[in-house]
Symmetry: C2
Subunit: 243 residues, 2 copies
DNA sequence: TTCTTTCGCGTACCTCGTACTCGAAATGGG
DNA sequence: CCCATTTCGAGTACGAGGTACGCGAAAGAA
């Protein structure tokens, strides 16, 4: 990266197909990003360091900076790469409910395959091209059913909030377990178990206690619970949408 | 911290009021946490390092480890300290809508005062005592209006998802601006501005473009937009609640 | 006073992001 | 074919961060 203009990575495309003097690049943004994604999938985001990625490619850490301005920009590229996995048709079907369901389930599947995705996504207001594609599809799904564009944005935002939060809940435990260096079972039993038990036994929080002890949801599969919550959100939208 | 049992910070209370031999502690968890909160408020979470906190207290970094097992645990303590600022009555009023509104606005105010709070909270499945208090209040607000405890949990979760996402959206820009080291105005104009303009002009994303250009929401104050979205969520709940 | 326990904190190790620098390679003009 | 120009690869190094270790000081107990 020759010039260091402070601008989004999406405005700084890789210099490809150059003709002129100079050595030819031996790596590529795509290759580096793919390697980073593999490491993050296998060992978590905190293991995805510049040195580790470079090592995996059989090179030195500084070589990567010919292709990526900063580590943070590499994260943006990683996000965009895996969001490409969200498969959607070119146009919505006309059934907004099943269209939004499709977005939800595809996003969930991708988020679970790459447990670092949603936590990383939450802190970034920047929209990469692939996220833009998914967002546009969701907006289009409600277009025609909701007259006001601000309402369309609002409902899509509400759905996104649910999807992201739900994924985070599903991933939360295993990620926290890895962060503390314990396996999920041990973490649940020895790390939070005693605390939750103490809270329940204190009697100070009766409804929280009921939500733990009397929950039938907790016996359902995670997929079923996701579906349950999704329907709650879609019902919320449907109740305010002209049919 | 003498023993290094892997367990939640809430199960490892500070040893206070000790009687016996040995030097008396010169600091306290509370004092350290308060200092950390001040630094994070003023300079962001990434500036809240062990060395910086210690320096502020006029001591060495390692002294803090007598009071806090790990930096991560200190974060949990910081979260709990500022959530204490969320003021709620002992019992809900009986009007679930205004009760949940109160939770939403109090949480928003606290989240905006401490811009590191929500981003930090999002990644942690652990419930501190103060968060538990707020959660219990929200559950109690819907108790009696929603028969199934799982539904109560679901609605409260949906509301929380909205509140957190909305706060993150409000903070996102300024935080990203600080992360990149630019002031918000410059960031918006030079960093994302050109990209958004390019996206709009490309014509590939017509609905996203409309949501930018035709939005009336964007001319409202942030508080009004929060209120707008909140009412959307409350309407979603209300549509499915026995009145 | 002396012993035992606890605190304060300096030193040190390891890891990380990345600025700087220089030799190697590749191309086009002569 | 040779050399000037440009670009790439990557080693070295700096500063900052979390925290393990260990030692001297302090404070109550015997």
């Amino acid at each position: 990266m020759s010039d260091d203009q402070p601008t989004s990575i999406w405005m700084r495309p890789e210099r490809l197909e150059r003709s002129g003097p100079g050595r030819r690049p031996g790596y590529s943004r795509d290759q580096i990003t793919r390697t980073a994604v593999q490491i993050a999938d296998a060992e978590g985001l905190e293991a995805t360091t510049m040195r580790r990625i470079a090592c995996e490619l059989g090179t030195g850490a500084m070589s990567l900076y010919r292709y990526v301005p900063k580590r943070d920009d590499l994260f943006d590229l990683m996000i965009d790469m895996v969001i490409r996995e969200i498969e959607l048709p070119d146009r919505p079907s006309g059934d907004w409910r099943s269209d939004l369901s499709l977005v939800a389930h595809q996003t969930r599947a991708t988020g679970l395959r790459h447990s670092w995705l949603v936590p990383l996504l939450s802190g970034r207001p920047t929209l990469g091209p692939q996220l833009l594609r998914v967002h546009e599809f969701a907006l289009a799904a409600l277009d025609g059913f909701v007259p006001d564009i601000d309402d369309v944005t609002g409902y899509v935002g509400m759905l996104n909030d649910y999807i992201h939060s739900a994924i985070r809940r599903e991933i939360g435990w295993q990620e926290e377990a890895r962060r503390t260096g314990l396996d999920p079972e041990t973490w649940k039993r020895d790390y939070v178990g005693p605390y939750v038990r103490q809270v329940v036994e204190s009697g100070t929080y009766p409804l929280f206690t009921r939500s733990i002890l009397e929950s039938r949801m907790s016996h359902l599969s995670l997929a079923a619970r996701f579906q349950h919550g999704l329907e709650r959100v879609l019902n919320g939208i449907g109740a305010q949408v002209a049919i």
